[in-house]
């Protein structure tokens, strides 16, 4: 009742007299050749364009930012992949988390075990030092600019860790069953991970596939019940990267064109990502 009253009090007006219309942006994609390309389009009509950067080791994009790791630097680029700022960085790959709509992001360097926050306006800031999490980080995500979540693998098994970005405090830890790399962690806590038959998509709080459902009473109507679901693929996944705000890019062991994956409620949308051939 309170909620209904609050909604009734809402009043919406178009803030802009007219909408802005442009080519739909899906994000960016790192090719097997190390080139980073912008990706435009929608499901079934994607196209990766001319490279914006070469010799890229790791990259992730949101709707507003791109974080790009080369061998010895970290770059922050805008959504069109224009360079905004470049920082020195440890050698090797990196993991990224990009809160939606934010001008900051988070970077984890496996080479040093450090987790930092980066932004266009300020120098990198260490959130967690070396080995603070006591295991190997497999993926990180950020539900908001003040928090991080991470999948950490160590001897007892993988766990989902929630971290305060302000001071690095570990706020909670939740065991995860059976997850292993390659995997992606979405900002809402959904874990997408691979097995030999394809992908498993486990929303936060989901029942694990194969687990017997409690037979206490029938599920009430209209009540959402999230469960892990499986998605078959033509070959085993070898990597899962954040391509954009709502898109993942999945590379397969058969060496075929990468797959774009978007989760939409209980469904998923997929298509191949073609790449415009351009001279280097």
């Amino acid at each position: 009742m309170t909620r209904r009253l609050a909604a009734f009090a809402l009043y919406l007006t178009a803030a802009w007299a007219q909408p802005a219309v442009d080519a739909p942006r899906a994000g960016c994609l790192r090719g097997t050749d190390g080139a980073l390309r912008p990706v435009h389009g929608i499901t079934g009509a994607l196209l990766a364009g001319a490279p914006a950067e070469w010799s890229v080791i790791s990259a992730a994009c949101s709707d507003s930012l791109a974080l790009v790791k080369t061998n010895d630097s970290l770059e922050i680029r805008d959504s069109s992949l224009g360079l905004l700022v470049r920082w020195d960085a440890p050698a090797g790959a990196a993991l990224f988390a990009l809160p939606r709509g934010s001008q900051t992001g988070f970077v984890y360097y496996p080479a040093t075990g450090t987790l930092i926050q980066v932004g266009v306006q300020s120098p990198p800031r260490t959130v967690l030092g070396s080995q603070s999490l006591g295991g190997v980080l497999l993926a990180i995500a950020s539900p908001d600019p003040l928090h991080l979540i991470a999948v950490v693998s160590d001897t007892p098994g993988p766990r989902l860790v929630r971290i305060s970005a302000a001071d690095g405090t570990i706020e909670s830890q939740t065991p995860l069953e059976d997850v292993a790399a390659p995997l992606a962690l979405l900002n809402d806590g959904t874990v997408v991970f691979a097995d030999s038959a394809g992908l498993l998509i486990r929303p936060p709080g989901a029942a694990v596939a194969g687990m017997a459902l409690p037979r206490i009473r029938p599920m009430p109507p209209r009540q959402a019940f999230v469960t892990e679901r499986r998605m078959a693929l033509p070959a085993a996944p070898v990597s899962i990267d954040q391509m954009g705000g709502v898109w993942l890019a999945v590379r397969l062991a058969d060496g075929s064109a990468p797959l774009a994956l978007r989760l939409e409620g209980a469904r998923q949308r997929t298509c191949r990502i073609p790449t415009m051939e351009t001279a280097q």
């Binding site: 803030a15 802009w16 007219q18 442009d22 435009h40 709502v246 790449t275």
Partner: protein
């Protein structure tokens, strides 16, 4: 014995392009072959393999992706190759071809085909002679080349393979915003090895995001032409080893015509598909908090490029509408955008000021109208 070059004007143009980037050289020390030239394997005892090694070098000006390397002719066999990989400027790929004449006689003819992602194919003729007791020359698979080893009292017409009837299929059916698999299927097994091209032409709207997706690691996009191979005994053409190739339809209404043609110019099949004008396809609706309100993002396609008005219906977290739908006329914005877009794809953003608690907004349903009607989608 001089083998006739079988280059059509199309291949001549292709070769001119190919010369800019690819150089074919016999190893270890040459010679260098230009497209259209004959590679002579010499005289080899019948039944004895003679293997030559070659190098394909990329001399620039750009990076190349070798999409197809194919030899036809029953007496020639290609060694394993790395098709589908990118070749940087200055780098090269090596491969071998083995000539094994099964009988004695001159001018066992074959062909070497080279294609990169950005260019049509280049062709080189292959020739060799089987030593030993003479027999009738063998020419496969083309009929035009007919050098004769010895004068014959009654010339025998060159055998032309009888190709079974072929059809071009699309699965799923072609429509805007789809990736379908195109295949070339024959009603009976293919009589001899061969190779050719599948081309796509369109009438009606062009589309910069319409084309084939090669099954390589980068999913190389090829707008209008891909190569295929045919293997004797099979009933389907193969694209880099696959029985079909993914085709991205784009987002513009048009009629697409696919034509499968053998390397020599013989048309195997042709099929047209009509992508009819349709209501707007909405792929994604996002509702996000923004300063002073919310931002709605709508990604989709309009294959008529006639989109005009939008309607936004906001609902609370229990799916009850909040007020009346808000109508926005975006005709001018769409008409300004589409002529330069090259596709029917669009990404639209509309901000709304909100007076009250933004967190009470649960979803928004967006309706878009074009010349074919209206369609709607609820935010995810």
């Amino acid at each position: 014995m001089i083998a006739r070059l079988l280059l059509s004007s199309l291949f001549a143009a292709s070769c001119a392009l190919a010369q800019q980037q690819l150089q074919l050289k016999a190893l270890p020390a040459g010679p260098i072959y230009e497209p259209g030239q004959t590679i002579d394997f010499g005289t080899v005892p019948a039944g004895t393999p003679n293997t030559l090694a070659f190098q394909l070098a990329n001399n620039g000006p750009g990076r190349l992706v070798l999409t197809r390397l194919w030899v036809d002719g029953a007496t020639f066999q290609l060694g394993s190759t790395r098709v589908g990989v990118a070749v940087a400027i200055g780098q090269s790929i090596e491969f071998t071809i083995t000539f094994t004449p099964q009988t004695a006689g001159a001018a066992r003819l074959g062909e070497l085909w080279v294609q990169t992602a950005a260019q049509p194919q280049a062709e080189y003729d292959l020739a060799g002679t089987g030593a030993g007791e003479a027999s009738v020359a063998l020419f496969e698979p083309r009929a035009e080349a007919a050098p004769e080893a010895t004068p014959a009292p009654t010339p025998t017409p060159t055998p032309t393979p009888a190709w079974p009837k072929a059809g071009i299929l699309a699965q799923p059916a072609l429509s805007s915003g789809e990736q379908s698999t195109i295949s070339i299927q024959f009603e009976a097994p293919i009589p001899v090895d061969g190779a050719g091209t599948l081309t796509m032409d369109h009438t009606g709207g062009g589309d910069t995001q319409r084309g084939f997706i090669l099954p390589d690691a980068n999913g190389t996009f090829v707008p209008s032409e891909v190569s295929f191979t045919l293997t004797a005994g099979e009933s389907v053409a193969r694209f880099m080893g696959n029985p079909g190739i993914v085709f991205q339809t784009g987002s513009t209404a048009s009629t697409l015509t696919f034509t499968a043609t053998l390397g020599g110019g013989t048309q195997l099949a042709s099929q047209s598909f009509t992508i009819a004008p349709a209501p707007v396809g909405i792929d994604l609706v996002l509702l996000e908090a923004a300063s002073n309100g919310v931002l709605v993002t709508v990604d989709g396609f309009d294959n008529t490029r006639t989109a005009s008005t939008l309607s936004f219906t906001f609902c609370d977290t229990t799916n009850h509408p909040i007020g009346q739908p808000i109508s926005v006329n975006a005709t001018a914005q769409f008409q300004s955008y589409f002529p330069t877009a090259g596709t029917g794809l669009f990404g639209l953003k509309q901000a709304f000021n909100v007076t009250g608690d933004v967190s009470a907004i649960g979803s928004v349903s967006v309706s878009v109208t074009n010349s074919q009607g209206s369609s709607s989608k609820v935010s995810q």
